[in-house]
Assembly symmetry: C2
Homo-oligomer: 286 residues x 2
């Protein structure tokens, strides 16, 4: 496995890899858990070559957010990537990605005015900008993203379409702990009590999904139930609980078939997000 | 010469061309004059393959600007491109470039707060967005731009650097009529009287450059003289006359070596721009 710190280096490694066929790309912020490894394994299974980037992107963190505290363990990450059969890792320093104060930013409008886009101003600008940079550096044939970051996934799909990046976006289902908690590098911030409390996110999402699948069409009532169940957990500080239509993240109408149920809440210093999607059939009038 | 209207088509033509070596790209809005042809000839001279795009990009025109009136003559353009030895022309319809109302925009900040960026809000967002799209579609090894659009050139250089587009930007000197008027598709809007009056732009720029080369270091006096000379032309409506440091388009300091002298003015319904650059030596105290 090749490990590259420089843009020029990874470009030339990818050029080589491309000779054996299409190249898959898994952009990450490192500190790998099963979610990351599943992305890499999926990429490995479907493509002859897999490139992974590890970069904690300062541009997507707000001034009051956890950029400095964000967990990092490059050595362990490299070992895990190697064991998973990754061909090359791009792990640039901050100065390699941003040699100067950047002037250029990529904005994905509309899709970013809701959910995390509302509570983390500038976050998706940072994501869209760094992902554009990484796509230009690696020029992959496909890029793999987790469904865990549902809004990010839609933003990147739209970015790829609007800016004509010639690559396929592959979404991979959220990987969960045995009790349902979505895997996240930020779970390490949780105290044992907060760790138990955090399971309320997935539990309440499942209840809401079951209600819709069971025929409930009053989505604001479902949304309120979802919010109330999380708010009832003493260690949870609810940030949002929303039901939106996919893929545009717009308020849902009776004709929408694909819904996203998405939540964000703080448990101590950990800000966690989770989501499920629901496909609904024709609304039957009975 | 291949003429492609579809993104998928030009992608596959470029893939073929790339087998014979690096590909040069000349993005244009069509209605070719000697300036465009010089870009193509330069590209032809330096690269084995040349791709030209012809697309009047609605995104870079303000609501009160001349998008609808902007001159178009695709047949003549294709003939001229063929005669110049261009390998492929990409001439997409508006719906091919913007199949939906776009969500994604590329902004180059700071550099766009001056000159045309101030008087044409949204213009450089439109330019940076369409150029990003075209770069992603064509994936050239080099792209050729005219020095005539000096601010656009700096914006695109910065875009390429910040977003890691792996290509070289080649600047080509402004091509002028015998009397010095910079070639522009918008010169066709000029009445004979306005056409004569418009020569004031280059004449006044030359006077200002000569003053600086002659040792004048009071740049605000030079700038005021430049503005006054244009304002004195009855058919000219001055928009701006500025002296800025290259490459960042910041207010010039005594230590700056590369200056841009840039002007914009209306003559009837034609809004024209022009510029010269000046390289100054060490300031000598005498």
């Amino acid at each position: 496995m090749r490990v590259c710190e420089k843009v020029a280096e990874i470009r030339s490694v990818v050029r080589e890899l491309r000779r054996s066929g299409p190249v898959a790309f898994v952009p990450t912020m490192g500190f790998f858990h099963e979610g990351h490894l599943t992305l890499m394994r999926e990429a490995r299974r479907r493509f002859p070559s897999v490139v992974v980037s590890i970069f904690v992107n300062p541009l997507q963190f707000g001034p009051a957010e956890d950029f400095a505290a964000y967990p990092r363990d490059l050595e362990r990450d490299l070992r895990l990537a190697r064991e998973t059969g990754v061909d090359a890792v791009f792990a640039p320093a901050r100065t390699e990605m941003y040699p100067e104060r950047p002037c250029t930013f990529v904005d994905v409008e509309r899709l970013t005015g809701v959910l995390c886009g509302r509570t983390r101003p500038g976050h998706f600008r940072g994501v869209a900008t760094v992902v554009s940079k990484l796509f230009n550096i690696v020029q992959p044939d496909a890029a793999f993203f987790g469904q865990k970051d549902a809004q990010q996934l839609q933003v990147i799909r739209r970015l790829v379409e609007d800016l004509n990046f010639g690559l396929e976006i592959v979404a991979v289902p959220t990987v969960r702990e045995a009790d349902g908690l979505a895997m996240s590098s930020r779970n390490m911030y949780l105290s044992p009590g907060e760790r138990r409390a955090a399971t309320v996110l997935y539990r309440s999402l499942q209840v809401a999904r079951e209600a819709i699948l069971g025929g409930e069409r009053d989505l604001s009532a479902v949304r309120e139930g979802l919010a109330a169940q999380i708010a009832a957990e003493p260690l949870a500080q609810l940030e949002y609980a929303e039901i939106l239509a996919l893929p545009d993240l717009t308020p849902p109408h009776a004709t929408d078939k694909e819904l996203l149920l998405a939540v964000a809440a703080r448990f101590g210093r950990a800000r966690l997000i989770d989501n499920v999607t629901v496909t609904i059939g024709e609304k039957t009038e009975t």
